[in-house]
Symmetry: D2
Subunit: 234 residues, 4 copies
């Protein structure tokens, strides 16, 4: 359904992604994905999610989804809505959209029941162990204090990334693990994969880049190269 190594581009709701720009940024991502054979997914603003799905062939995630069943929940975003829009899954519990524990569990369950992929965000080794126990398909560890800083978690806090990889593999080996926060260069991506992750989650380094395609190209190359090295050394 989705391949690894995986680069997830979270567009957030930056000024750079309102409207057609999201489609342009998604198309760049698709071009790089096709050229380098690396899986790249995008998470555009919810209002343009369906238009992005219709414009590109790469996986598209929602940035957030609520736990509710269809019903009287004015203003909510439910699983059936993002599925109908063509999303392949949803980010869950991003540090900018935290969710109570019981709802995280419901959201993961509802996404899976609807054939969608939960990508759960956590912030520490402890919450990663707890999150992995909810069996998400993908888990991304993102220490929030590094988000948007350009200081890569994979270089600044390798012990947290390695610790998260370790607890995820012990708790639920079938959960795939990414890391995020400050990922800005190909080198950051390489380091992340060397630490045992299966990809990265990033945002501003791509969305706000003067040349997003070039940044992503460098990350894709690093991802594939490091990934293959890891595989052959196993």
């Amino acid at each position: 359904m989705i391949r690894f190594p995986l680069i997830v581009l979270n567009f957030k709701v930056y000024p750079e992604v309102i409207g057609e720009n999201s489609i342009k940024l998604a198309k760049y991502a698709e071009e790089v994905a096709n050229e380098y054979g690396v899986e790249v997914a995008v998470a555009p603003p919810i209002t343009i999610l369906n238009r992005v799905v219709n414009s590109v062939g790469i996986p598209v995630f929602a940035q957030h989804v609520d736990p509710y069943l269809p019903g009287s929940w004015t203003g909510s975003i439910i699983v059936e809505m993002i599925k109908e829009s063509g999303a392949i899954g949803s980010i869950v519990n991003h540090s900018e959209k935290r969710v109570i524990l019981s709802d995280i569990s419901i959201i993961i369950k509802r996404l899976k029941e609807n054939g969608l992929i939960p990508l759960l965000c956590t912030d520490t080794v402890e919450t990663t162990r707890a999150g992995a126990a909810l069996y998400p398909d993908i888990l991304a560890i993102e220490p929030p204090e590094l988000i948007g800083t350009g200081i890569s978690v994979s270089k600044a806090k390798p012990e947290i990334v390695a610790g998260a990889v370790d607890v995820v593999k012990k708790t639920n080996p079938s959960t795939r693990i990414l890391c995020g926060a400050g990922i800005s260069t190909g080198e950051d991506v390489a380091k992340a994969i060397e630490l045992g992750t299966e990809g990265v989650l990033l945002s501003s380094a791509y969305v706000k880049a003067r040349d997003p395609k070039s940044i992503l190209t460098s990350m894709a190359e690093s991802a594939i190269k490091t990934w293959e090295k890891n595989q052959s050394s196993r």
Copy 2:
């Protein structure tokens, strides 16, 4: 920009409105609006808002919008997003999506600065007086205990509707006032307008009707007839 009397159809996220059904329900609304010369607006789920805008010529509202400026707010819905999608405005502070006071104020201000219409929901005469002091273009009083019951606020609690009309007109005469909760028939709409409102906000009575177009037709006829009687008696 928007005319009165006004019937706002809040689609919520009922099973009946996921996907193309929203477009069908919006088209019925447009047909009735055109035939009877009454303004009908729809508020579809956020993921299909843009598609509804592209399918009909009637005003389309978002069901909720967050107070943030464009930036790193993963999973949020900001004013620029709903504007780009073609919404004419947004419901604010619906009883199923309550907002803190300071954010209500920011949302109303940001919507207006972007040329969009805030439709503020309140629940009592007291909160209506407070809400009117924030100068929304439209205010809808909806006692939450009647929402979805089929017991119309205009018949069951006329004193609350009349009280809300009174405080709105005293606080800010240019704010237009609707009422909602339990509105199910043309008679409920007539009663609402007799009490001084300038329209209604409803949801399940339309969305879940076996024949939504027929229900709306009866409401539109009642709205126009009562409205004209009110006007001529002034």
Copy 3:
């Protein structure tokens, strides 16, 4: 620090526990605890927590605590406050006071660092597995749909209680496990302990009883008897 089997009496903020009544209900609990040699703890309203501590010798829990360090958090309840008041620990993430995952983790850590006992509430086997991964000293599984119903979780949903016991012991054997929701009689307590729990969490059955001491006596007797049977059969 705390002994098992354990009966935790959550006073909530029922009309029956405002003011001195909390002290009376805590004293009854102490009398039963002393008479039957079973550990009984109480969780009174936060405003009377210190007075209860000063009135009885049994363990006293806070009902909730916030994750913040001392600082500018007007209106919050922090770990240092409940410690200074003499609490032995705090309920965390009660179904009536849910907390985001990252804060649950911080609260558990801060309680332990301050020598206090976290009593984490969860609602399903899944969230129990996640919660146990945060290594709370005590975990109580409480399916919220049974809270306050008088239908005991231990009789109505034994598979959930047994499932929770199982995942807790697999995840972190040193976490003690209680169950709650609908616990109303000595028989309910016996059944809970037979299923592998080490006590119960209850509220209205004690607080709202015509004769709270008599109800608690029956529970204490059942708890001790079933506990000893369990021990001897191991």
Copy 4:
């Protein structure tokens, strides 16, 4: 019930106010109040509220209260609890503990019905106009961006203070108005009263002062002097 000019000291949950220090800081406040004939109220952490009430004769406020009636609301702080503890009223909607509009209205109503004083916080002229429409006994305007900065709202943003005074007096003349944020010196207090307020709300400048009593003395002198000048010039 309470006199003006009024100085309200919000203790927040600073390290300086955990435990007995709150009582010491409340006693200093009482000494200054008695010596200078100015009304000084304190808002200590909720766990020590009752002990402060029992230690001093000055008015004591809660920092926050929830809207609920007595019942199954584990971890909440309800009006009956703070009343039983001897509080004279409660801060409502502090910028560090924001509340949804409908709950602000309920809290104000419930406090008044229980003979307690709501002290509502707002942040702008707009939310002050809305807040005043809910008829709180006291309203404090506090632009959150100045809180804790030592830059006084009364000097840095006199137009906001004057604007708030104006809308409060127009909306509900019987609501008393304070200002807060950055109030650090007697001069700040004088300026606040010159702008038409009836007192101030402050926190760190008192709580974290090397000599809190001396700071408060200077504020009390300024308050009384400016107040009397204002009165005689009317």
